[in-house]
Subunit: 211 residues, 2 copies
Amino acid sequence: MQIAILLFDRFTALDAVGPYEILSRAPGAETVFAAESAGAVHNDSGSLTLVADLALDDVPAPDLVIVPGGPGQSAQMDNETLLGWLRRADATSTWTTSVCTGSLLLAAAGLLDGRRATSHWLALEQLKEYGAEPTGERVVTDGKYVTAAGVSSGIDMGLTLLGRIAGDEYAQAVQLLTEYDPQPPYDSGSPAKAPAAVVEEWRGKSRFILR
Amino acid sequence: MQIAILLFDRFTALDAVGPYEILSRAPGAETVFAAESAGAVHNDSGSLTLVADLALDDVPAPDLVIVPGGPGQSAQMDNETLLGWLRRADATSTWTTSVCTGSLLLAAAGLLDGRRATSHWLALEQLKEYGAEPTGERVVTDGKYVTAAGVSSGIDMGLTLLGRIAGDEYAQAVQLLTEYDPQPPYDSGSPAKAPAAVVEEWRGKSRFILR
């Protein structure tokens, strides 16, 4: 099973590395990071650099596609090189997935038309504008399309999908090995749970962050 | 505040990127990845490459040190270049931290003698052999030393420490922006919770994984 993780300038690192850490442990997985050009790709803050092993043209038919998000997504929304690759890869993929605003790229490629999907909580309205049917869920599966909410949700998406691919016991073993027994010190991880003032502050800044 | 994240061959990616994604958002943070030599560093499976911006000698006095783990830790346990850097960095750091078997490196450097600390659940006995007092907790703070359990626990460590550094409300905002509202599809993230057969299988393999 070939897993391709898309990289682009100003992606969010955990969006990519969360599901990577889970799904790259699938039986027989060959995981590659791919970008428009092979080589160094910088994240949203510019302080983390991941290497894209291959150019998109060198990964024509992955079995599983993972599209991370990040503020850099907005500059790719009309990049036909990237969107065209997504459409071609999707044509033969077994699973097409995203984390955070990565779902906006899938939607811009026309892959989520009329499908239930999710994204970062600040991007759900924009996801609707691009033809998907946003839900507030953390991980949404609609056919072969699996989308996850913001940033850290890709870990939950990875485990959910690993269970489908390799069975519950295998996924449970990977959860144990990655010691994914979350104990956040606050309960502030969604707009329904965070202090109202914090939510409103960031709603006000969302256009700055996402577009 | 300068944050230095140590990289070494065959580190585990999420160990580093989990706390990175949280703590690099601290006010005024300058985050650098550092390794014995600057340049590409490959993770445990060899399928992910992060770039070390600087060599250790170029990061003499970080305010916050983050040491990830991974199977590559075992090859570093008597690397005096790396251990010496840890001791010197620790001499002036405000916080010295680790994720997963990174705590074994802190212990090998003599920094956890008699201190409460944690590590990957499969490494707790070895941590004791190196002079620390292991606990089964997910995040352990003893003075300026903050250690986290396996792989994904670095996210919880990051939020705990961010609250200490920047205050509860700031940490809650970062939790909201990274949408850290965990909803794992299984409850198998610790040896107390995972199916007994899975736990025993991996206990049997632990020497293969860790040393």
